[in-house]
Assembly symmetry: D2
């Protein structure tokens, strides 16, 4: 269990989103970012790296975007729904692209299979949270 939910519960002011849903999304973003960072490096060490360069690049993008989104969603002071929404939309796009790319190598590379799952789960969590932002 992560400290995401306990930390949300100690925030000393109101939070504009459902705390359980928010915690689930933050945890998915962090997990996706970590999986993408590891997958980029695993691809880099495959003998067939030349065929995995798009996968590596998309992994690096998705890792950066999800890490940033996890940080933004962990801040509640001076909440700005527009920033959260637009960044979650960017996460959906990045997770979709990276999930598709990794899924296409999933039968050959187990790291791509695990990473594709993390991307799919994160994409869904971001979509679910987006649906609650008016």
């Amino acid at each position: 269990m992560t400290t995401t939910m306990p930390m949300l519960e100690t925030y000393p002011a109101s939070i504009n989103l459902d705390r359980a849903e928010l915690a689930a999304t933050i945890d998915s973003l962090i997990a996706c970012s970590a999986a993408c960072t590891a997958c980029a490096d695993a691809c880099l060490s495959e003998e067939m790296v030349r065929e995995l360069t798009t996968c590596i690049r998309t992994n690096l993008d998705c890792a950066d975007i999800c890490a940033t989104a996890a940080r933004v969603l962990s801040r509640h002071t001076g909440y700005d729904a527009n920033i959260s929404r637009s960044l979650l939309e960017a996460c959906v796009v990045a997770c979709r692209s990276c999930g598709d790319e990794c899924a296409s190598h999933a039968e050959m590379h187990e790291h791509c299979r695990i990473c594709a799952e993390a991307c799919r789960a994160c994409e869904q969590a971001c979509r679910d949270l987006l649906a609650t932002i008016s």
Copy 2:
């Protein structure tokens, strides 16, 4: 002068965007991210910090989002227009919010004035680049 344009010129494959416009946007994103990081810390040391908490939070968001966008735009391998577009749109939103917030303190705090200018310039650079992405 930064090494952004020289590095773009050495990229060994084709780049789908205009290199001069791309370099200008990357440099604006990096400058905006640095200004926001510094402005957040300067606000934190102001005696009236309690009135600057929204500014600090928006600075932190804008710093993270622009830094990530600079990285994503610096990658051309396996280019994905959807990722670039959605992230640039998030930058426009973050720079607009942060620019507005900092501008509202610009007469009192010089760091907010400089930061607001960096946000405005970055917002415009992102809009200009977005207009060229089909």
Copy 3:
């Protein structure tokens, strides 16, 4: 359970460090970084924010340093013991400072108590891993 260990197990070449210990450290770094990001924002929303500015700043540093270390330790291609060692040493210093700072507010602020624990655990994990790097 995170995907850190499963991803390590799929890495297609040798890893120079003990995989279980490495996974534990990466997970501690990610958890500490997330807790520090949340604690900085919680402190920012406290009425007594003026007395928490050092805590906020140290939280931001610790969040950045631990996030970077988690990424570096998640890469095994072209392993360079000197980089891992020097960065783990920086983490020990940052976690010590941030843990001390948060601990001094732990009785008053629950978010500082949780964050101090995450810093202490991360500091120890980094020390343990450092001891295995020749």
Copy 4:
């Protein structure tokens, strides 16, 4: 010209390091981080990518470490010399490794030549600043 020095001049409290030297180091760190991000991607698109995987990995590490150091050095509130020092030492190590690696490909790849120069300049700036931290 960047806004690093103007932002340092607007910081509303004392700064424990020489502002000109600090600004030069922050700018070098930002430039090195940007060059390493671009070089990693350029290497990824080279036909001989299999021979550049160590270069890519070291570029990614150096980019992350220098970006984090630029942020830490841009914060002055609650200054902690130990954190700055240990992180600058990690930068020296990363810039040395990355500079050596890129220099070894400099005759064949212009992006590696430019990146090696950025790493050397950054390593020197970090050493110079370190010498002033008691």
